[in-house]
Amino acid sequence: MKKKGVGMSCVLHPTGNKGAGDPSQAAIQLKPDGTFALLVGAVDIGQGSNTILRQFAADALGVPIEKILVSNFADDFAPLCLGSFASRVTLIDPHAVVNAVEDLKRRIREWVANEWEANPEDIEFDGETVYLRGDRERRSMTMDQIAAGANFGGGYNPGFLVGTGAWQPAKFHAHDPETGEMPAVGAISFGCCIAEVEVDTETGVVDVTRLVQVWEVGKAVNPLLVRAQINGGLHIGMGYALTESSYPYWPTEDYAPEKLGDYFMPTFLDYPPELIYGIEEVPHPAGVQGAKGFSEGSSNGPPPAIIAAIHDAIGVWIDTYPATPEVILKALEAKKASE
């Protein structure tokens, strides 16, 4: 018999280590053709950090995103980033990028002021135009002109216009011995997941028939990527809840998986036929433009929601991940025996 059930989970996902330092660095250089080379340490494994860090650099410079080239090529040459983990990059790295842009602007001001024999504080930016406050008609240069002038010299003074930046949520902060207080995280994101399942009481197979997951992300810097990460986190979450295990043929290691096909990840057919996502934005004070990370949390919402839905469907709490057919049938047998 197939039984339906609905379950819900709420997730609190900390991002950015506030207690023990957690810095990232960035550098940005004005290239001879007027584009900007942004160097970051964050590794983009597909989550889109290169994309959003370009967005932040473009915003801070007031130039189109196409003007920003990004590279995180090789640790030997890249600025440092403690890593792409714990959803920390969207909170931390944009600060490093924005700081680097401000530093570059300062260098550009100094270079232009030197050319014009002016005070750097009187140099203003308007997108890709740099001008002298109060004399824009006579004293203005485009970023292309500055780039060519500084990089190729000629009638201008040569310059190497690079800005660098670094940021971390807070300095090291030991536990307060009296209270035990320690501000451990830079920001927290909040999520909610509701799952509907269908449990086959004869075979023990659980199908997720509908699933909704909503995340409060501070600022959805790139809504397409936020959506991909909410729906994508479900892949790990569903596998964790129902199928993925290094030892699916428990109890002996002799039956451990030997190849990818022995390790059951969700396929197109396992994904819920009806899948809904949602994004909430409450700007976070610690983030650039209110942004913070969340995506690891989207893997954490589905498992408890699915387990709660199984309870709703068949009246047993499963306390073992993954809830394979074997686990479900044993739980049903135990329930029957106790009745």
């Binding site: 096909g261 396929t267 197109f268």
Partner: protein
């Protein structure tokens, strides 16, 4: 092992290449012809990342012995672009974010290409079923389904 000449049509052009009988099509594409669109995921026929079209049918190139494609037509993701224009499916995947890391994408595109050739207007369930042999660890299934539906609906 003795090498033999293998001749086949790759992305519209005839190629001839020396191969050994135990080499797979994936080996030949990636190692000998530098066609790196097809990805070596599991190398075991389970993930679908190496999928190419053989005479229009999707096959796992990691399970296909290279010499069996003699005289036949192989299309990889490199062959989808025509005269510098992305294929409609490529545009839809790109604009709708139907991938994150992109490793599975060449295989997904080839299977989707084959699906739309056979069934220009597939239902959601037909897409799920046809694509089910290809794994995406980033979990982009929903976005891939939508991208295929958008192409079927003539949006690209």
């Amino acid at each position: 092992m003795k090498q033999q000449v293998l001749t086949f049509i790759l992305n519209g052009e005839e190629v001839a290449v020396l191969v050994t009988p135990t080499e797979t099509l994936l080996d030949v594409l990636r190692e000998r012809l530098q066609i790196t669109g097809p990805k070596r995921g599991c190398d075991d026929g389970e993930c679908g990342a190496c999928t190419v079209l053989l005479d229009g049918e999707p096959v796992r190139s990691c399970l296909t012995l290279a010499l069996t494609v003699e005289g036949r037509t192989v299309t990889t993701v490199e062959g989808l672009m025509v005269k510098g224009e992305l294929d409609r499916l490529q545009k839809a995947f790109y604009e709708r974010g139907a991938f994150q890391c992109g490793f599975c994408t060449p295989g997904m595109l080839m299977v989707a290409k084959s699906l739309l050739a056979k069934n220009p207007n597939p239902s959601r369930d037909e897409i799920r079923s046809y694509m089910a042999g290809n794994l995406c660890r980033c979990g982009s299934y929903e976005e891939i389904i939508e991208a295929i539906q958008a192409v079927a609906a003539g949006e690209y």
